[in-house]
Every structure is written in C-alpha cells, then in structure tokens.
Subunit: 220 residues, 2 copies
DNA sequence: AAAAATTTTTAGATTTGCCTAAAATAATTT
DNA sequence: AAATTATTTTAGGCAAATCTAAAAATTTTT
C-alpha cells in the first residue's frame, strides 16, 4: 500500500511517541507535529480506515502491527538518506534532517535496497540512531558512554548526548565523528580523564565530562 | 520561490513542449500530462499569477524568462538523479525515470550542488540528454551518429535513437552503454559496417544500421 | 458568412489536509 | 457528586489539485 507524505509523517511521529508512552494522545501528537488537535483527529480516522491504527475515540491510540512495519520502513529510508548525505555528499550531520525528511517519501523499494547496498548496509545513522534492516528489525546496539566503555576494546562513536555547538566544536578538534573507531587506552583516576585513540590519529586525552557525553557501541 | 510538485511537473512539461512548437496549447499539454483540459486551464492561471507564464486566454501560452529558468533547474535535478541511479546504484537506464520524477522535487540547492560534485559534474544523463549546469546552461553536445563520426577519435556514447528492447539487447551484448568511450577504427565500404573499440574491450564490428542508431559526442 | 466542429474556459463537485469555533467527553478539584 | 478544567471530537470552512458537464470562443467546412 502507498501512503501520502502527510500520512507517512503521522505514522512516523506516532511511532516515535509510542516509544515513550503506551498510548499516544491527540494533543501530544498535535504538539509534536505543530498541528491542531482537530487535524490530528482527522488523520487518525484516515489511518484507522487504512488499518494501521488501534484507536478508540477519546482514549488514545497506537500503531498496530502493520502500522509499526510501515513506520520502520519510513525510518529506514530516512536514516539511510541521512547516512548518504553525510558519508557521500559530505554534509554536516546537523543539517541533513530536513532534506532526509523529503527524500524519505520516495518509496521505491528497489531504490532503497540498492542505496543500502551502495552505502555498505550501515547500521547507524550520522546522529547515532540505529537503521532498521530490510525486514524492519532494529539492530541492537550496545551503546555505552565512553567513560563506561571497557579498556582496549574497539568501539564506534555512535552519538553525542547534547549536540550543542560547543561539544561539536571540541569533537571536531579531536577529529572525532559519528562512525569513528575509538579505543580507550587509559583512565586517569585523579580526574576521570581518558586517554583514547581514534583510528589513524595519535592518542589524545579527553575530560570525564566529555567522555560522559560521547556514546560508543561495540565494534563487530 | 518554492513550487509544489504539481506546479513543477507542469513547468517541466511546458518547457518540453515549447521546444517543439512556438506556442503550447491547452489540449496538447493535457494530453502530455494525462490530464483534462480544464485542469490545465486552472494551473495556467496559477502559473500566470506566479509570473512564470505568458498566457492569453484561448491563444496558447509559453514560459517566460523565469519560467524557463525554473524549468531548467527541475530538469537539472531530474537528470542528475538519473545519472546517480544508473552510475552509482547500478539501475537500468530504462527504469530510472519514475524514481527521478520523485527525487527531482527535493529542491535543496545545496543538495544538488553537492550531488553534482559527487558525480563529477556529468554533462549527459543515462538517456543521452544533456544536463543543464548550475546556471541553467545546457552543455552543447556535438552529437553525431556513429557512422558519421570521424575515424580514430575518442567519442562518448550519448544516446540511442530507438530505445527498443532489440537494440538494447545488442548494445548490452557488445558491452556498450551510455557514457562508454568509443573509437571507430575502420569502416568497411562493402556493407558500411564499422570496426569499433569500446574502452577496455577488444575491438568488434557492428552493422551500418546499428551505427546509425548510436549517437556519440566528442570527448573532451 | 453561416453552420459545424474543435478547442478552451467556466462552473460546480470531490478529495486531501489543514484550520477555527463550538460541542461532547473525560479528568480534576472542591 | 457537582462544578470546573482539560482534552478530544464534530461541524463547517478553505486552498490545492483534480474531475465532469456545460458554456464560450475560435477554427474549419460548406
């Protein structure tokens, strides 16, 4: 079944919100999408007739099996495109979201299959979020902040908690990017600072605070 | 100015049609777009208020300066995406049109600038059509059919006149693709057949009829 | 130059996706 | 448990993009 861009945006948003609360309610979805509650109610009816939604008037809603499946397809497309924009076109990771929002609605499954292969079947997007596989399965990433990561094991930088200008600036300085391979060489008990090694770069030292904000997942 | 996908499709279609006839008329555009004349009239009014069109009721229409400029932007996006789909994702050139139709409406100019660079600023799309540059200028390609192409000069296969299954099958067999580098080594006067060389492949012979249907433009 | 045929436009309807304002329902407070 | 407040839905409206059917303008034929 084919869905409009608007329907897809609702599906995706409901998926996101229902990760946090069992039932999603009209107002929170309206707030999330910057729309009015009445518009949301309209769309809920449409999604219900399309059998994507469990929805009882006045009592919240959530995606059913096929709704979730559809959401994961959309999220997969979004994240693959984000990966493409950063890894191939060299865009900044904090600037790709809006463009991926548009690209995600191009829904040829052959296109996505090929894009995935072309990119090397990435498991994680440039914001550190996992990319669902072709069957809609989210890869399980054992994300740990760098200060909780075991010594001398390779990890991949997967996300940064607060993506502020300041932290980005610092990571840039160290040559750390999402996707960088990293190994913790030593922890200094004195102040909790870490000596780390980024692939192909000389070892360097980062503060405990920085380490707390850098998340890493197990390589392999 | 931002245009809807629908408006962009009209703009692009008018551009195409006005290549063939001075003034475009309602019915021919309706036929081209598989729509009814009344719908076309509606859109003509809209495009006129947006100052893209010269249009006098009952007397045909054509794009004005900014209309043409907009059309070339859209065509540029379409052809760059077609190039990407074939050259990078390995899709068949006869299957990329529909997908490029969707991708072309994603209109970030930064995206297109980067895509163009990433692809090596290609001048010609996989169907052999020229790709307008960032300023909307169509590269002038000196296209000649292979049987009129000078001997021992490198050319690039740029298009095939009748893209039928039969001719495609033969080109495939010879390993000839749009974009292939080709050189004519010899012409046999007896039957007009040509000995040609495709980059990295052994020389081969093709019939005069085949050569007439293969177009080439000057390398460099 | 009328009549006939063709083309184009207008008028009015439909669907999608949004809105505001009012009504209905549910939750909270007193 | 009644009153108040908050949430959600309904009712009705609007713009975009399409349609059909009818009217208007233009072109062609006789």
């Amino acid at each position: 079944m084919k869905f409009s861009a608007s329907e897809e945006n609702y599906i995706k948003s409901i998926y996101t919100l229902q990760g946090k609360t069992e039932k999603v309610n009209t107002n929170s979805l309206a707030g999330y999408l910057n729309m009015r509650a009445a518009s949301v109610t309209d769309m809920l009816k449409r999604l219900k007739t399309k059998k994507l939604l469990e929805y009882k008037k006045y009592h919240g809603f959530r995606l059913n099996e096929s709704g979730n499946k559809e959401a994961l397809k959309i999220i997969r497309r979004h994240r693959l495109w984000e990966f493409f924009l950063v890894a191939r076109l060299g865009m900044e990771w904090d600037k790709v979201h809006a463009i991926a929002e548009e690209l995600e609605h191009v829904s040829s499954s052959d296109l996505i299959k090929r894009l995935d292969n072309y990119l090397g079947q990435p498991k994680i997007d440039p914001h550190g979020d996992p990319i669902p596989d072709a069957n809609g399965k989210m890869p399980v990433l054992h994300q740990v902040s760098l200060n909780n990561f075991p010594l001398k094991i390779h990890g991949i930088v997967s996300s940064v908690s607060s993506q502020t200008q300041q932290i980005m600036e610092m990571l840039n300085h160290y040559g750390i990017n999402i996707g960088s391979q990293v190994k913790v060489l030593k922890v200094f008990d004195f102040d909790g600072s870490l000596q780390i090694k980024i692939s192909k770069q000389p070892a360097c030292i980062i503060s405990a605070l920085a380490a707390q904000n850098i998340f890493v997942y197990d390589d392999k």
